[in-house]
Amino acid sequence: MSGTYNYGYLDESTKRMIRRTILKAIAIPGYQVPFGGREMPMPYGWGTGGIQLTATLISPEDTLKVIDQGADDTTNAVSIRQFFCKVANAKTTEVTADATIIQTRHRIPETPLTEDQILVYQVPIPEPMRFIEPSEVETKTMHALEEYGVMRVKLYEDIARFGQIATSYDYPVIVNDRYLTNPSPIPKFDNPKMHMNPALQLFGAGREKRIHAIPPYTKVESLDFDDHPFEIQQWDESCAICGCQDSFLDEVVIDEEGNRTFICSDTDYCRLNLEKQGKESVDFVAFQKQQSGAE
């Protein structure tokens, strides 16, 4: 560990402030709690909210997993993992089941979580009604008075215009029958995973300086209409690597002719499936070469 940083990068009093914020957020599920966000060594828009949460929570006993769009090996995930190795000498893993803290951008792991785990989400804009109501004072009042009609109006507009609710990610939910919450830009496919999850779910927005939380085993309901109920995405295809049909699939281009295939977005889950089938895990680059070679 570099001698110039405090453990976890943030100083202890900052960590204490953030812990207090987290406790308040847990006490009021879904409510956005303001916090004194610090300047981090990466710009806004790169996960500073999530990083501050992880920095506050991480201890030498923890094992950290970082994913971005479901994968452990994308640039951002790798950078963040390296950051915590540097400032916290963190133990890291790509295996979901082995992690105690999972920091994620834009996906929830397919592997079900346990009571011993904390899921930290990176959130760009925490206010779900911001796009309809630009005034912070007004949205605060709407939350306080539980005036969420305007959110349903948005869904109504979708159906009127597209015949169905067009929102496919960042799909608004009501937490604990009370607060309207932005679940962060996860695909709506993942929304059901938030409901009654044994793990603690924390959401950090660095630029907006807000933290909100969903405590374990909390009711989380996606907004819908009686005659247009909430539905998750479905694929006709299955994962080209592990053959799984129930995970979120990414459509990827495999060669220069633009041929495409579908593979699991959650790389660890894909590897697990292969393991269960007694197969070796597959490197995606190799997989690509293999696919294009086969054409």
Partner: protein, 260 residues
């Protein structure tokens, strides 16, 4: 049979809000009964808009009280009730029609969405039903059903005003506040609009308090008038009596200024 013991739905007692000497409104008292239309007339600066904002909970008063009896016969003191109750009242039993439709409509949400918003806010969850009800209300204000998905920005001023009315009536309010409802409309459109208002008031038995500087509109719509000048009510009574036999000097001046 006269209902001599009829209870008013709104009691305004000695309400004041002054920005400066004689700017604002002061010592205003009156009662309003179910289905009654009260017009507040006066020239600019008379305080009529201030009074309307006070009564509809958009402004806090210096003193006085406003009592409202809701559908379930519960008494509410407007200035003392918690803001959440006030906002709820404004969404359910009350309505506010603004002078500029853009203040009362979401301009980038479709007509159906605008009308449906209140329904969704009171708990309606069936898209098909909400849409149908929106279309019915559009018909009642003479807006064509095929415009239900159009945005108010695509409507004319008169249509926007009618949409505003529909948006407010959808919760079948008992009391609607209107600030210069014909203010931004062309004269030719005004007639149509006033006719609609008259019919709706008669059919739905909704009480209305409206502000206008146009005595013609007042005569057409109001059962009773409050005449304001320099923050005070100088005369109040039956519309036809005020306009045909004005007692106060200022009222006489106002009435004599109408070009017939």
């Amino acid at each position: 049979m006269l209902h001599l013991d009829e209870k008013p739905i709104l009691e305004v007692k000695d309400v004041s809000k002054l920005y400066a000497e004689n700017k604002g409104c002061q010592q205003v008292s009156f009662e309003l009964y179910a289905g009654e239309v009260l017009g507040i007339v006066g020239e600019s600066g008379s305080g009529k808009s201030t009074l309307l904002k006070l009564l509809s909970g958009q402004l806090a008063s210096d003193n006085g009280e406003v009592l409202y009896i809701d559908r379930e016969a519960n008494l509410h003191s407007l200035f003392e009730m918690p803001i959440s109750d006030q906002r709820k009242l404004l969404r359910t039993e009350w309505g506010v029609v603004h002078q500029h439709p853009s203040d009362g409509l979401r301009m980038n949400i479709s007509a159906g969405g605008n009308i449906g918003e209140r329904l969704m806010a009171i708990g309606e969850r069936h898209y098909g039903d909400i849409r149908e009800e929106s279309i019915e209300w559009m018909a009642s204000v003479e807006l064509a059903a095929d415009r239900v998905d159009d945005k108010p920005s695509q409507f004319s001023g008169g249509m926007q005003q009618r949409l505003q009315i529909a948006k407010n009536l959808v919760t079948k309010p008992r009391l609607v506040f209107m600030d210069e409802p014909t203010g931004g409309l062309d004269v030719s459109v005004q007639a149509k609009f006033l006719d609609l208002l008259r019919r709706l008031v008669i059919e739905l038995k909704v009480a209305v308090i409206f502000v206008t500087h146009d005595l013609g509109v007042a005569r057409l719509l109001a059962d009773r008038l409050l005449v304001m000048r320099h923050s005070q009510v100088v005369e109040q009574g039956l519309t036809d009596q005020i306009l045909d036999d004005p007692q106060h000097a200022y009222t006489q001046l106002l009435v004599s200024s109408i070009v017939r």
